[in-house]
């Protein structure tokens, strides 16, 4: 427990110190890299809510990530072209305001997760994995074949969206926004993990029959967790698209789902801070291995294989012990 807390603090500090130093040293690329890690960490926290806390092995989280991205892309696209999104039955305009975009991304992610979850949670196990993967792919193909928002080419945004009182085009200021969102999401997840809901959800993961025997319905717990998970991942998607000022179907692809899952596993499943460590580690690997070899995915695959076969529990499992603390 003690070591885990230390590790949490160390990772958070590192993620903060690195871009601050880079800002002083005038290394904007490093800031962007850290911002990427921070945003991917949020996506991982989203997946971890379903996967780690609820035991729901979803291979379709790219759908929520991508929908969040498109929520940003579409709203900003209409705002920058001065065309309304919808004129009838009511007039909806685009927007460049980050808080509004975030809200839309969260709601979109939650709604999509609610619908997909309601269908796929009628099954369990392997079915659930295959179905979430398939629904994710559905959104991918839809985005490719729907020409209004760029189809295969995606959507570019000229200027990053705005946050009141900040210049978001300044890398360090945008980093600060993302870091603050990460802290809020972390705090919320940490509380939820200890809440009545978190307790019952964890029991549903370990033993659904037990949950029924105490008068609760596992399906409702799973669906709620899946919806929250989709909302968080959607928010991360909006930030990710804003970072790149670009959204494309690749955000919706199954590889994205796989990568988000890799963050969670590299860090440690079921730990609140696991995905943060995992995303940071992933970016580090991508950067260092990617610099060494064009074919760095082979090494990533080998590392992942090693973690799965021999080091279950990920980074946190190695450093803080295998057992997940529960109080």
């Amino acid at each position: 427990m003690k070591r885990e807390t230390l590790l949490n603090a160390a990772i958070l500090l590192l993620l903060l110190a690195l871009p601050l130093w880079a800002s002083v040293a005038d290394e904007p690329f490093l800031i962007t890299l850290t911002t990427r890690a921070v945003i991917l960490a949020i996506a991982g926290i989203g997946l971890n809510f379903a996967l780690g806390f609820g035991g729901l092995v979803s291979l379709g989280h790219a759908a929520f990530f991508g929908l969040g991205g498109y929520a940003m892309g579409i709203l900003a696209f209409h705002a920058q072209n001065y065309t309304p999104m919808m004129e009838w039955p009511l007039l909806i305009e685009g927007t460049k305001s980050m808080p509004v975009i975030w809200l839309v991304a969260i709601v979109t992610g939650a709604l999509a997760a609610l619908v997909i979850g309601a269908l796929s949670l009628r099954t369990a196990g392997v079915y659930f994995i295959m179905i979430t993967l398939a629904f994710g792919q559905m959104f991918y193909y839809f985005a490719i074949s729907w020409p209004a928002y760029g189809g295969e080419d995606g959507l570019s945004i000229y200027v990053r969206n705005s946050f009141p009182g900040l210049n978001t085009m300044d890398p360090i200021q945008f980093f600060a926004v993302c870091y603050a969102v990460l802290l809020i999401v972390l705090f919320g997840t940490w509380r939820a993990a200890r809440s009545p809901f978190g307790l019952m959800l964890g029991a549903a993961r370990q033993n659904p029959d037990r949950v029924q025997a105490v008068g609760q319905v596992p399906y409702r717990l799973y669906l709620t967790a899946f919806t929250i998970s989709g909302a968080i991942t959607g928010l991360a998607g909006a930030l990710f698209a804003d970072l790149n000022r670009f959204v494309s179907p690749s955000m919706l692809s199954w590889q994205t789902s796989g990568e988000i899952m890799v963050f969670v596993i590299l860090g440690g499943v079921g730990r609140v801070f696991g995905p943060v460590a995992g995303a940071a580690l992933f970016i580090l690997l991508e950067h260092t291995l990617g610099g060494l070899s064009e074919f760095w995915h082979i090494y990533l695959g080998a590392i992942l294989l090693g973690v799965v076969l021999f080091a279950k529990g990920g980074l946190y499992g190695l450093i803080a012990g295998r057992e997940v603390a529960h109080d």
């Binding site: 009545p196 370990q206 033993n207 008068g215 529960h326």
Partner: protein
Amino acid sequence: MTDPVLDVRGISKSFGGLKASDAIDLDLRPGEIHALIGPNGAGKSTLIAQIAGGLAPDSGAVHFAGRDVTALSTAARARLGLARTFQISMLAMEYTVLQNAMLGALGHRGGVFRFVRSVMRDHDLVARAEAALEQVGLQDFRAFRTAELSHGQRRQLEVAVALTLDPKAFVMDEPMAGLGAEGSQQLVGVLDRLRQQAPILLVEHDMDAVFALADRISVLVYGRIIASGTVEDIRNDPEVRRAYLGEEA
């Protein structure tokens, strides 16, 4: 005679050609321990599943606390106060003993969909969970992880979780299974005191425990209740001796 808390009326269930439950009548009255015994494959688990929920009978009805619960889910029956313990321990193994007891208290009280306040700071729930642990003698193990408990302690914890549901009746599926002599004796003591709180339908193989505890015994063989009565009645019933006790000995 008081009304039964649990009343099983003419339940039948077939799997293919096999009649797992054949027109079973069974009731449970306040203050009693009613033991259900029978050889392996007699259909005890099938019957329990129909009483506690999870398996729908082909015909017949289950009445509990004055209402027909035949169509209700396991969870709904549990909320009405039908507390079940399992043959295999159905506990959240990663959780502490206290957390497992909290599950029962929380499930019973409701308000599960709260996301902010720490559940372990809910003093009312903690108090209820601790009281249940104390009743089964697990109070000193509250901070242990359930996976670290001995088999017997897990059995006690199962009972404690059932207790937190503030039950109107218990359905216990072989609580003594796998317990040593000492463990059985301890659990017999716990159950003996429990019957005043709520009656127990006790499915059990351990005949010493059954004879020590039961007010009434029903014998299930091949999906049918072949005899029902007091301990003395059952001991002396020739059909039971032939069909069941003879085999066991």
